[in-house]
Subunit: 183 residues, 2 copies
DNA sequence: GTACGCATGTAAACGGTTACATGATTTG
DNA sequence: CAAATCATGTAACCGTTTACATGCGTAC
């Protein structure tokens, strides 16, 4: 009996599912096609460098979740598609509620946590900078929203909406901190 | 002339500054002391395994930002303190506004983004689970807040406050999605 | 036809996660 | 004094990041 895949199966990471999801939407597609989509969508809340979009599909081919087909002329680009197992893995993941809890990982929060209570001025400066960052991102995301309104699904628009609400919440919070620095 | 540190200096990561900040608060302290504090504070919004609290101080000693002193009896635990360079590096970081933008990295958001518009029931199920997760975390964080209210600085309490607001924002968002799934 | 930018990809190094391991302390 | 739990640490693997490299099209 033929064994498919090399050796033990690995646990898939969120990146794996991002790639499966992207291929699901775009197949057949190249790594660069994925990159293009990432740039205007999930890249805004789940950033990663494009090299992952080359490395991860290779692993998924090993796992028999993707198939790769290489052009025989020109640039010999690699085109990816889902296998049946890939479709299944993606659908199962999409259906199952998320188990991990989304963390903030905001460096500004770290700085606030470690701030010197006696140095309220530094805190105010930090807070003002954070307000700026979040308001700028509200601008960016609003523009993206308008840009993609035609093409994106309602669920995709909703992800943008949560992003905007988060930045609004954060901007308000930091504005309060700037106004009245704790210390 | 004596050369301090081995080879080229590396770029410090957020983890580096977490450790510098922890040592700043607790020095002299062991990795385990840091772990204790992490568990009831930044661990809630910037989680990482305790092994990092052993690995990173070793690197920081190489960088001459920490000094290590080993007990000569008993468990021979390692105690860390900041060097002058460590104090400086930490203070400089703390003063400078954060440059990276805190990202969401919420797996639930990914699932929403990739959800099948035709399958509104899955979306509603996902959303209901997300509501539960965030409301539970509101409970947890509220309890932590009450627990540490005596000991924590106002700035530290403020970080908890932002965490709570984020979970509130997210819980509300997902409740709306559950109520009226896009698709 | 040259220059610039977009498209496409690779490789090495490093941090982070996971898993394991075992010595102390407390509790019953 | 046995068992459980806390305290303390190590090692290996693997994903991610960073940096480099270079073909192809297009505009001037």
């Amino acid at each position: 009996m033929a064994v498919v895949g090399d050796g033990e199966s690995r646990a898939l990471t969120p990146t794996s599912y991002v790639v499966l999801g992207l291929v699901h939407m775009l197949q057949p597609c190249t790594s660069y096609d994925m990159k293009q989509l990432v740039n205007v969508s999930i890249g805004h809340f789940w950033p990663f460098p494009h090299s992952q979009l080359y490395a991860e599909p290779t692993r998924l081919v090993d796992d028999d979740l993707l198939v790769e087909e290489q052009e025989d002329a020109g640039r010999r680009r690699r085109l990816y598609r889902l296998t049946q197992a890939g479709e299944d893995a993606f659908r199962d993941w999409a259906r199952m509620p998320a188990q991990d809890i989304g963390e903030l990982r905001d460096e500004g929060l770290l700085k606030l946590f470690f701030s010197d209570p006696a140095d309220r001025e530094s805190i105010a400066t930090l807070a003002a900078a954070q307000v700026k960052v979040h308001e700028e991102r509200i601008e960016t995301l609003s523009a993206v929203r308008d840009d993609v309104a035609e093409d994106a699904s309602p669920a995709q628009m909703a992800t943008l909406e949560l992003g905007l609400r988060w930045d609004r919440t954060a901007a308000d919070f930091w504005a309060e901190v700037a106004d009245n620095p704790p210390g």
